[in-house]
Subunit: 305 residues, 2 copies
Amino acid sequence: MSSPLKIHILGCHSATPKANAFPTAQVVEIRSQLILVDCGEGTQVRLRQNRIKFNQIKHILISHLHGDHFYGLIGFLSTLSLLNRQAPLQIFAPKGAEEIIRLQLKLSKSYLSYPLKIQALESSASETIIDNSKFTVKTIPLDHRVYTNGFLIIEKAGDRKLNIDKAEQYPIDKAYYKKIVKGADIVLDDGRRIPNEELTFPAELPKSYAYCSDTAFKLDIVPIIRKATALYHESTFLEINEDLCAKTKHSTAKQAGIIASKAEVGHLILGHYSARYKNLNAFKTEAESVFNPVSLAESGKTFVF
Amino acid sequence: MSSPLKIHILGCHSATPKANAFPTAQVVEIRSQLILVDCGEGTQVRLRQNRIKFNQIKHILISHLHGDHFYGLIGFLSTLSLLNRQAPLQIFAPKGAEEIIRLQLKLSKSYLSYPLKIQALESSASETIIDNSKFTVKTIPLDHRVYTNGFLIIEKAGDRKLNIDKAEQYPIDKAYYKKIVKGADIVLDDGRRIPNEELTFPAELPKSYAYCSDTAFKLDIVPIIRKATALYHESTFLEINEDLCAKTKHSTAKQAGIIASKAEVGHLILGHYSARYKNLNAFKTEAESVFNPVSLAESGKTFVF
């Protein structure tokens, strides 16, 4: 069985950090790998509060260079060095992030204890930026006031499941079971070939997570995120304030619901709420008018799929 | 009577922010003016928690460009703009700070709502950087791994105090009292000159606050901070770990006490404790072996002089 896909919400409010409304940061746990997605000010404290081991994070994805998604990054990188991290760390961020980070390190005469690779994103088309044995990450070009990407994180297909009753009907050494779940056929000593399909059940469908923040309503993203297990889509405003979306390049909860519906995702998570709203339940109700199921992101909450 | 000098400690721990150990930031309240001194990550949240009005801060002093004193600045500046601040803001910081700030603003396509002036500090001698009607600020060159200044904030002398019994012995119109407390002599209608000293008591001695963090033990600062009302001096280590001071360019609590003693300050406040110590009372005891009175800085604590 594949390991669960977990989304740890460290912060999910827009604009400025407050005592109980932290800016955007999430940790995505996929096939037991941790990916930090966005890094608003104070993220390193949120990571500690959520008992997430700093050293298990090997990749950081930054959607855009607005402060509420980015200003906690340099502090986190510095802390990793103070903790004497040795493992390499890879960041994917819009062009310019590396210049800021290297300048800050230079001016503070700081030398990182670990290899840091920062890959600049600048394409306006979706591209595959990570492809390893556990997962793939593709960018989701978004429409915001500065160059912005969402990220689609897709689990690699897991092993097929052994049909133990079938396998035991043949004289197959158990040592071959590992090969069988990887898809191998078996040739018995008497020369008979047993096709893999007879010995196994199909693997579970790979899970996937689409993160889309910040963005104006953008139907172009639907084909990219189609059938994702879960979609986090920003909903800065309610429909009553839809006029603010054009200027600020944000979305309403209803628009997030429309995207979720058209993309036929499994679950919609809303976040990036404007500070003007006291009652967040209205976001859920509004999105539910066009899609189900909908959940509200909350700092400290973990979603498991 | 002059208004009290207040030191609001927002954070006073070294290195990396934790849930209950915030990096360095203080607000100094002098003659009802607020000065932010250093700005570690999360300072804007601490300001809110301490109910300090953002807009009353007109000056920011940055000692050096290490993250635990500086990484909260860009977030605070951005938030002021989101709050539509109009009043000018002036920052004094080591050379390089402006380059980082302007680059971050440029890459996030942010335009500040208020005039921001950043004055680069690069002198290795003490210099007067602010001199207005309420207070003066002088730099205190420190000895750290990067270019670092402490700051001496000196209240401007207040008015002399009217000796009302004496004043009423003469036919002096009360309208002149304001001039008298400013130091004016009075010439009566009959031509007699009454010297100011006869009509007034001396003004209270101006208060002053010396902030020294981060620094190795540096006796050169003693003449600059002599007789300060209060001295905040870093004490990253205890004497038992004095060997760590040379490499890291920090001080022990005892060394802070020696500086306070030689400078004959009124009060010593310790801070910037290394995370290795669980019991902070040992810092107080150690400094008290050479100086009194000593207080421990704590996040959320306000000192009033």
